[in-house]
Subunit: 93 residues, 2 copies
Amino acid sequence: MIGQKIRELREENDFLLRQLAAKLDIDTAQLSKMERGERLFKKEEIIEIAKILKANEKELLTIWLADKLYKTAEGEKHILDAIKLVEKKLQQK
Amino acid sequence: MIGQKIRELREENDFLLRQLAAKLDIDTAQLSKMERGERLFKKEEIIEIAKILKANEKELLTIWLADKLYKTAEGEKHILDAIKLVEKKLQQK
DNA sequence: TTAAATTAGCCATTATTTGTCAAGTCAATA
DNA sequence: TATTGACTTGACAAATAATGGCTAATTTAA
């Protein structure tokens, strides 16, 4: 999901995989996997990508975090109940 | 949080750490850490504990999952926005 | 105090994630 | 149809994180 979003942004900005990979100083194959969701982006990479592709950092980080949460919950039962508990706990702080 | 809950249940049922640990076939020190949140419970252990302590399995699993989600999100920005995205994605399925 | 219960700290083992490279597919085009 | 460029795939080693098991220390309750 975040990968798909980044791929779209990259293509809108006419960057090749290897060009963006170079800017991020990572392997092209790695970025390919990241964009297709096979591997995770680091938070720092998302922030860097937002700068490079002139995108909204907050939006990207939000999608990135949503991905991680989704991956954690995926396949479990009672996900919505658990989310409610998390929201409750967040309010306490 | 799930650890705290399990500790309460264990004490209500007058089980010692070593007794519950024995039933779960894990080390006492390990269970101690789990109850204090230093280490994670496995899902199977939660299910087993629900049986042993005659507790509501759904409730325990929900708290257990909420813990994992909270841990994933902890310290990040835009958590609530990310949660909304997760809920949206869950609806799509 | 002292004995039982719990916690802390290590270290070895295992699992998961990451980085790197070489080979592969596919589409455009010479 | 051979070549080229962009991207993907798979394999594997390196790095990181999680787990298990043990012993010593600390806390608690009698």
